[in-house]
């Protein structure tokens, strides 16, 4: 259809767009309806959280790390806390590990239900969107009953968790599991039965297995491309070592992998059921004992002040592998430095590939299909727009600057 000398025109999707949850810009070169090229321009919501952490002590940074993201807030907390525990060599009571796993899975359910709703909204299926919002209420209510908060739970602390599973919470969790098993089927039907949803999502935004590997896709995005990767399975942490967790890949269910938006939807929907099973197993096997290694915060801070070295934590957040690395210096109360690599940072790289040979109508769906969390992602973008012509610093330059900074930090 496209003739050689035909002029393409540019359309921006974002930074503020009805179909997007968070600010990101995709400049699309269009020929009619089809996308010939796509440029992703992040950088609208960088907040400098890592810098802020450098004049705070680890206990204060917990609440800071919680505010990196609205949905996967507890993932970032657990990741940060695990990194600190790694440096300080601090044990975590078994009960606390189980409770962390429960909250992490609740968060995954929350994230995936919300995502499924938004994906339906993006294809104009408003009824499923409202159903998603309705289903999401339940897990938020449970999180509120459990931790006292609906979004930033204030649940994690170094060396344990802050709230215990009381018998009432236990019952509420079991009720929630039953509720989701009964009600979540509507989304499963969207995946398998709705013809229009299938027409909109099948073979759209394809990311092949090879591309997913070479562009370092993570989490459900990578699993939908057929890669068996799940830190809960390959490098179990917290209570997951005691569970039988298999990464969910489409080939196990449909026998074939397309790596498209449909597969991403399928993987996420099936992961909700998996999370329900994990929560149930955690509740059944919940060990007795304390939930914190050191409940007295001044004493804990004293211990952390003595810690020296670099620690890291990596967990499977709802969107993929989330990694925190930090350094604590003995005698210094504050975090020396802290680096967050959120899953979207890796997943966003594969957007331009997914855009190839797709249509304008698919663009917001493709952006949403990796479940982007832009506020998680934006930690290290530098533009020299102030002095230059708006050129974004290239990857190699950025890498060089990053190394420079690390060198500076290690010397000073």
């Amino acid at each position: 259809m496209a003739s050689e000398n035909k002029k393409t025109y540019k359309i921006p999707i974002g930074p503020v767009h009805v179909g997007l949850k968070e600010p990101i810009t995709a400049w699309l070169d269009l020929d009619g309806e089809s996308i010939t090229n796509a440029t992703i321009r992040p950088g609208a919501i960088h907040r400098g959280i890592e810098f802020m952490a450098r004049d705070r002590n680890p206990i204060q940074v917990i609440s800071l790390s919680e505010r990196i993201c609205g949905i996967c807030s507890f993932s970032h907390v657990v990741c940060f806390v695990r990194a600190v525990e790694n440096v300080a060599d601090m044990p975590v009571p078994a009960r606390a590990q189980y409770i962390r796993a429960i909250v992490l899975e609740l968060e995954r359910i929350h994230s995936h239900v919300l995502w499924a709703g938004v994906a339906c909204y993006t294809i104009g299926f408003d009824s499923a969107f409202h159903l998603g919002m309705l289903l999401r209420e339940k897990v938020m209510d449970i999180l509120e009953a459990f931790t006292g908060n609906r979004v930033n739970y204030g649940m994690g602390t170094i060396g344990g968790v802050r709230w215990d599973v009381t018998p009432a919470v236990n019952q509420a969790l079991r009720d929630m599991i039953q509720y989701y098993r009964d009600e979540f089927d509507a989304f499963y039907d969207v995946v398998t039965e709705d013809p229009i949803a299938k027409a909109r999502m099948r073979d759209v935004g394809v990311l092949s297995r090879e591309d997913a590997i070479s562009y370092c896709a993570l989490g459900p995005t990578a699993r939908a491309s057929g890669i068996r990767c799940d830190l809960r399975w390959s490098a179990p942490y917290e209570a997951y070592g005691d569970m039988d967790i298999k990464p969910i890949v489409p080939q196990d269910y449909y026998g074939e992998v397309h790596g498209d938006v449909f597969d991403r939807f399928l993987v996420r929907v099936l992961e909700v059921y998996q999370s329900l099973d994990i929560i149930e197993a955690c509740l059944d096997g919940l060990p007795e004992g304390p939930i914190m290694t050191e409940p007295k915060i001044p004493k804990l801070l004293g211990q952390l002040k003595k810690a020296d070295g670099m620690g890291w934590g990596a967990i499977e957040a709802p969107r993929g592998d989330d990694t925190h690395v930090l350094k604590l210096t003995a005698g210094d109360e504050n975090v020396t430095w802290w680096k967050v690599r959120a899953p979207t940072y890796s997943n966003a790289v594969s957007w331009p590939i997914m855009f190839k040979n797709n249509e304008l109508a698919d663009a917001p769906l493709i952006i949403n299909s990796v479940d982007p969390c832009i506020s998680c992602m934006e930690r290290m973008l530098i533009t020299d727009k102030g002095q230059d012509t708006g050129k974004v610093v290239t990857k190699s330059e950025l890498l060089e600057r990053c190394r420079d900074k690390t060198r500076r930090l290690m010397q000073g």
């Binding site: 359309i11 993006t122 104009g124 709705d194 229009i196 249509e359």
Partner: protein, 330 residues
């Protein structure tokens, strides 16, 4: 002279009523849509409040746009859609301009209304509106095919069976319901035609599965992106009016039965009851074609919509056409 004046008065009154009913339909559509999604939803009159608010707002014309075209298109679109009601018999009342035009003109007017909206989009100079306008044109070309098949089949049927009246006039079909004059295969054929015409309604209004020219999560309300104030109010009105006009045509062609006549009423009461009855039927068709479909499904992509209308719905209509021809000829 007297009839001319009477026609003008009746036409103006009907246009006003159609406008009010169109807004009421939008309100009802929202409420029913919300109820089916387990939401509370807005008050029924919300569409009126929105329209009144928009009418009080400033019209902003984009600098890069063709101002004249941009500002005329919405009004023109409303005007031609209102004209459609002049050619549809409302219950037992004959169509006001029934003698001077029929189904062909109705298709033309509905098409013109869509073209006007697309022109408004093109003339705004916004690339997103441009995409929306292109989609509107493609969508229009897509649903015209099943529409044309249905209309020609019905006219051919009326001509072949010798129904009293002009074959292309809606009044012919109101006077003699077609369901009674054909055989069993014919009834099946009519049913297929009816279904395909109901499925044209979402395309005509650009709602639900055919919410493509104004897809807000894709192209940010598409061709209406630059519109504001009175112009936007007119565009909303035109869209609702098209849903009602199309449903009115379907009622005239396929569900023409008179309630008043079956109750044995006469005179003014008959006209009044049938008038109300017509709008009830029209609303029922419009709610089936717009609200139910937009609640149950997502939205197609434009080429999928074309495929849907050109292959599936046109196929359905053609099957109906063949069944009807067989029934009438054999």
């Amino acid at each position: 002279m007297m009839t001319f004046l009477l026609k003008i008065i009746a036409g103006a009154a009907l246009m006003l009523l159609a406008g009010i009913f169109a807004i009421l339909f939008e309100g009802l559509d929202r409420v029913i849509h919300a109820k089916m999604q387990r939401r509370v939803g807005p008050p029924v009159l919300q569409a009126f409040y929105d329209l009144l608010k928009l009418l009080g707002k400033e019209n902003i014309t984009p600098r890069s746009g063709n101002k004249w075209m941009f500002n005329t298109a919405p009004w023109f679109s409303v005007a031609v859609t209102l004209l459609v009601f002049m050619y549809i018999p409302i219950g037992s009342l004959p169509a006001i301009l029934g003698n001077s035009g029929g189904l062909i003109l109705i298709i033309y007017l509905l098409g013109l209304s869509a073209v006007m909206m697309a022109l408004g989009g093109f003339s705004s100079g916004n690339p997103i509106a441009n995409v929306g306008a292109q989609r509107e044109m493609i969508l229009m070309m897509s649903y015209e095919l099943p529409l044309a098949v249905v209309v020609t089949t019905m006219a051919w049927l009326a001509y072949k069976l010798g129904l009293p009246g002009q074959p292309f006039s809606v009044e012919t079909f109101v006077a003699t319901p077609v369901w009674g004059v054909v055989g069993k295969a014919g009834i099946l054929g009519l049913l297929l035609l009816f279904v395909s015409l109901v499925l044209v309604v979402p395309g005509e209004t650009g709602k639900g599965i055919m919410d493509i020219p104004e897809a807000k999560t894709e192209i940010l309300e598409g061709l209406t992106i630059e519109y504001s104030g009175t112009n936007l109010a007119m565009i909303h009105l035109a869209i609702s009016l098209r849903a009602l006009a199309m449903s009115g045509v379907i009622v005239g062609l396929f569900i023409p039965w008179s309630l008043g006549a079956s109750l044995g009423l006469h005179g003014a009461v008959l006209f009044f009851i049938d008038f109300i009855w017509f709008w009830i039927k029209t609303f029922a068709v419009a709610i089936t074609g717009v609200t139910l479909i937009r609640t149950a499904f997502g939205r197609f992509k434009i080429w999928q919509a074309s495929y849907f209308y050109w292959i599936k719905i046109a196929g359905l209509a053609l099957a109906g056409m063949i069944l009807l021809s067989l029934d009438v000829l054999l």
